[in-house]
Symmetry: C2
Amino acid sequence: MALVVQKYGGTSVGDPERIRAVAEHIARTRAAGNDVVVVVSAMGKFTDELLRMADAVSATRPPRELDMLLTAGERISMALVSMALADLGVEAASFTGSQAGIITDTDHTRAKILEMRPERIREALEVGQVAVVAGFQGVSTERDITTLGRGGSDVTAVALAAALGADVCEIYTDVTGVFSADPRVAPRARRLSRVSFDEMMEIAATGGRVLMLRSVEFARRHGVPLVVRSSFTWEPGTWIVEEDPTMEEAVVSAITDDTSEAKVTVGGVPDRPGVAARLFRALAEAGINVDMIVQNTGANGMTDISFTVAKTDLGAAREKCLAIKDEINAAQVSTDDAIGRVSIVGAGMKSSPGVTALMFETLSDNGINIEMISTSSIRISCVVRADRVGDAVRCLHTAFGLDAVQS
Amino acid sequence: MALVVQKYGGTSVGDPERIRAVAEHIARTRAAGNDVVVVVSAMGKFTDELLRMADAVSATRPPRELDMLLTAGERISMALVSMALADLGVEAASFTGSQAGIITDTDHTRAKILEMRPERIREALEVGQVAVVAGFQGVSTERDITTLGRGGSDVTAVALAAALGADVCEIYTDVTGVFSADPRVAPRARRLSRVSFDEMMEIAATGGRVLMLRSVEFARRHGVPLVVRSSFTWEPGTWIVEEDPTMEEAVVSAITDDTSEAKVTVGGVPDRPGVAARLFRALAEAGINVDMIVQNTGANGMTDISFTVAKTDLGAAREKCLAIKDEINAAQVSTDDAIGRVSIVGAGMKSSPGVTALMFETLSDNGINIEMISTSSIRISCVVRADRVGDAVRCLHTAFGLDAVQS
């Protein structure tokens, strides 16, 4: 008898037929002798619909009210899933984030969980009910309704799994797991049966769209075994687990790509202490998240600092740089939004020399110029022209031996 | 500086444009120096949409989950109204039924309010905010979300007005007030500027569609002055107030009609004590609400008992009567769903002899046969053929001097 937390995303509960299919899977899990806690997102595009309504009545959209509005979505899907379970003879009860004891800070639209008090969920499990919990939402220390921001429903599921000591947290979505590359970009990508938390975090951080970085971090910190599965085919999926030191790791597990960022270069800056600090402090104060940072110092005592930001932040970042250009004695500020990042991720990289060289050679052999490089112990990322990202993913996927055997 | 509770029904907040219009009226009320508490229903047909979804996933529709589902509707409209207010520079905060301290029993889908603890509403008013509260919903003593049943949003508004000691409870709807008859039936009907609680209760009980009996009862019990107004024209509307003994009452204030009921006659029953009790106990146990009851005893010691029930309960009522027919020695059970009820309501009736006679004469002069009669101190109701209800309303409206002066 295990305790299983299952999270169903928006496409998984997108219409009545999908909701009934999900209820049947929950019933099967229950019939197999498991205690089950279900976390649901809002149905399909319902959140977008609510946002359109908000836009139609308000330009200011106060965050507290936006949260109140958006949380209606999960309320609907969790009630419908519970009703569908009742038809299958499965006793179920739905709980809002507040009822599930998900206590957050007061940072509306992107609240952080401060504490989990899932007493009512425990009580429901004790009397044999399936607990169906609204994802993405909580209640603040000021007793206001909050939302957890992007990927919030996954965070809800992982946080509940951690607080309840669940044996597994199953994330159901519209893909069959985590792939060695985006199958739309690399048709020969294959599903990974398992990846380590470290790898999954690098994959999530560099363009993998299946899981958000935040929920993976949370799961690793609390030792919650995660599995990503399809709610359409119910295939086994991908397990995200602690690294097992006795196992032989693949050198490279996945190739990721990300074309959502743009590059800013502050050029001709005197190479003096404090210049970079001043620059990135100014950006941080403007609420701009900087991703890759590369600095090259030339022979003339001048340096170029390049960094990437989300394309949506590019205008603000450029403005900020121009504002402090004179203060830091920079020669120029330039921007480029036609870039993309290609990364290779693999826990085995740590003990395998030559990976970096193979990556650069492969790109070079395919005539793909590298504009920026950044590395971690289990990842190497290269910024290339946006229109070469697909080629880069495919040739790296082949070079690192990831291509599925063709049938 | 007054405390005003304003309730907006589904058509009043039916689309973004309506929501902005409502926000503007709230802003005007606030600018006039009033404290304002707003109660909203779900937008237009949204509740019906949710019910359709429930039907699509579940045949059993457990009441607890149905309540969880339906309360999403007010959540959406209250957040949107609050957002629209923010755009007008009016500080507002929305509150669920639970946050507003509306404590109910555990009777899902038709819960009764047990206690009002509107501390958060008071706090909001104290800091100068408009409090926007979800109508129709509360939280049970078991901490589950409940709904208050039909007309529940009006009940929320009245209960809040009572608990907060509001100066007035304004019910905004898509009509301009309470009329001397249904204007669709009697084109010469006119808006009443004021009616007494007693009259309003009789009007609500006999077919007036503007206010539900339950909220009028609640308002009278707590002495909350009500006014019914249009959120489309913002005309003055109809005040529902305590009778003022110094004022001259109109003999008859309104003519109402109701064709939603059917008649059951249990005929040829021996006129013995306990027969009626046995019959209506059986119906009550089956959850069938009986409205008018008329019993006529003939010379032969036999009696006919006729009563009206909602058409939707007719089948069940007939079945129940047939089941106990032999036990009470009844000769036959017959039903008739082609009836309608016409009522005259007026506080002045108490002190005006001749009203009954004028009603019967008027119907008779117009060739309308009376099948059942029931009276209260300020109402007389007659059951007539359904297809003569319109004629009956119009001729009574004229006979009692209610016709608007034609321009």
